[in-house]
């Protein structure tokens, strides 16, 4: 018996519950893009798809991240960045294209199975358990682990000291930036093989943003590839090994972070001059 604002626990888009994550096409037609994706650890290859029965949002879009690297997706609002992330994570029907993790085709796996395979994901919105304490949020992050995860938790607390302070407080009572830290911490708890972040620094103060980027770099140094969407594009591209600019669901520019930062066209249209 609830309505309106009270039933909001996560985004209400039906495709997210797609139990199998099955695409419609069995074949995975390559598109022959001149991109170095051969050695990619995680790749969403020539993805086309949209929400429910709606129109295509992604048009033959390819996103990949190599082992130990950081890949950053930038682009205007509504370009389909979040959609691309969801597609890679199996929360969306792909009408065409495939997703491969470490050489294995995972197009047909459900999101949970992808978590088990070692993918970690922090969504853009509603990314924490608001009614659970901070600590329980982190425990939930480690849900699929059956070993002792106290070390990992200690690491997360080292990274975000404020969380240790508030660990007994329901996460829903934290400020916007604090929540973001919980969300990233939760994802790290899985000890993922690859980490996907949708705008992790939105609404985070400069000092925390720097810390987050620092930590992201450190995580990537441990060999975990990172795929993230960022609007703080200049900073993000600065630390990125590879950058993608998406426009209207398609790859517009691709290159190393530096190349993109140097490209005047990209700067003007997407990085705010």
């Amino acid at each position: 018996m609830s309505g309106g604002q009270y039933d909001d626990r996560g985004n209400k888009d039906a495709t997210i519950t797609n139990p199998t994550g099955r695409g419609e096409l069995g074949a995975h037609p390559g598109t022959g893009h001149a991109m170095d994706t051969a050695s990619a650890f995680l790749i969403g290859d020539s993805m086309t798809g949209g929400y429910g029965k709606g129109p295509d949002i992604l048009h033959d879009c390819t996103i990949a991240v190599n082992p130990g690297e950081i890949a950053v997706i930038v682009g205007p609002n509504g370009a389909g960045k979040s959609t691309a992330m969801k597609a890679v994570f199996g929360m969306l029907d792909l009408r065409q294209g495939s997703v491969r993790l470490d050489g294995e085709d995972i197009t047909d796996l459900s999101p949970q199975d992808r978590v088990v395979k070692g993918m970690g994901f922090v969504p853009q919105t509603s990314n924490i358990f608001t009614s659970m304490t901070v600590e329980e949020n982190l425990e939930m992050g480690a849900f699929i682990r059956h070993d002792d995860f106290r070390d990992t938790m200690a690491q997360v607390y080292d990274l975000f000291p404020i969380l240790k302070e508030k660990r007994r407080q329901p996460a829903g009572e934290l400020s916007g930036g604090q929540r973001q830290q919980v969300a990233v911490g939760r994802a790290l708890m899985t000890q993922p093989k690859v980490l996907m972040l949708d705008e992790p620094t939105a609404g985070v103060s400069p000092i925390v943003m720097d810390e987050l980027f620092d930590r992201i770099i450190e995580v990537s140094r441990t060999g975990i590839p990172i795929l993230m969407v960022e609007q703080n594009a200049r900073q993000a591209l600065a630390i990125a090994d590879r950058g993608y600019v998406l426009v209207q669901g398609a790859n517009a520019y691709t290159g190393t972070g530096k190349q993109l930062l140097a490209d005047p066209e990209v700067r003007k249209s997407f990085l705010g001059g």
Partner: protein, 336 residues
Amino acid sequence: MDFLNAIVALSNFVLIPAIAYGSQLALGALGVTLIYGILRFSNFAHGDTMAFGTMATILVTWLFQSMGISFGPLPTALLALPFGILGCMALVLITDRAVYRFYRQQKAKPVILVIVSMGVMFILNGIVRFIIGPDEQRFADGERFIISARTFKEMTGLREGLAIKASQGLTVIVAVIAVVLLFWFLNRTRTGKSMRAYSDNEDLALLSGINPERVVIYTWLIVAALATIAGTLYGLDKSFKPFVYFQLLLPIFAAAIVGGLGSPVGAIAGGFVIAFSEVTITYAWKKVLGYLMPESLEPSGLVQLLSTDYKFAVSFVILLIVLLFRPTGLFRGKSV
């Protein structure tokens, strides 16, 4: 002496019945609250689920009785209870499969699920009557009283009697055990925590690797167990009749909400608040006061705040007052 008489009369007519009734309501409200907290809808079929579980228990009890199996001074129904619970679990899992799962996948609005649960309620209603009929069924055996009013009077020489029924004692004990187990499960075990996580944010639970369908199944299993226990205890204490179980739905909901929907502690507190308010506000204090007051001041009227006609209204007025001054219920209803 008179003071003792007053205490005994009060316990006999107010405290003991209210505690037993409160425990039964609390167990029922726990089921409602769990479904609300985790599956996010108010389950109107809960009363009939209780009826179904109890019916299963009764059928097994009869079987045992006919085979001559008994449980000494305790009711045979306790032996049959595990089987009843299994039967009820099977039922709820089947309904979930056949009915609720579809709406979950559609991300239907909670009110749709409420209406769907009404559909299930209608159907269960039919099934229960179909199998065991609409009549009252008796299945209690074993000792009836821990202490009966007559024995008590003889023992103590007091004018007032005090009766404690075996079913009342049993109700309280079983309720306490069930509640302790439930809380341990929810707060200490991995599965319990994953249930709370799911109740909070389905999509994120998914991203954490929690299998939503498993959470749902566990929830239903627990709810089936609670419903069967509550129903059987109630049936032992009063009697079993399908229509009465449907009627139980309203006080159960009132209890769950007074406590704060979604909060298990609240459900228990709510059960007792409703039970006690129903009994005390409409209680005629004439007898008790008669013992306590000096002869000259003895009340001539009934000294009743409200006539029992409004008993039902009383529990709802309590509900309203709680809601107005503590809008989320006594224990701010958060999802489990």
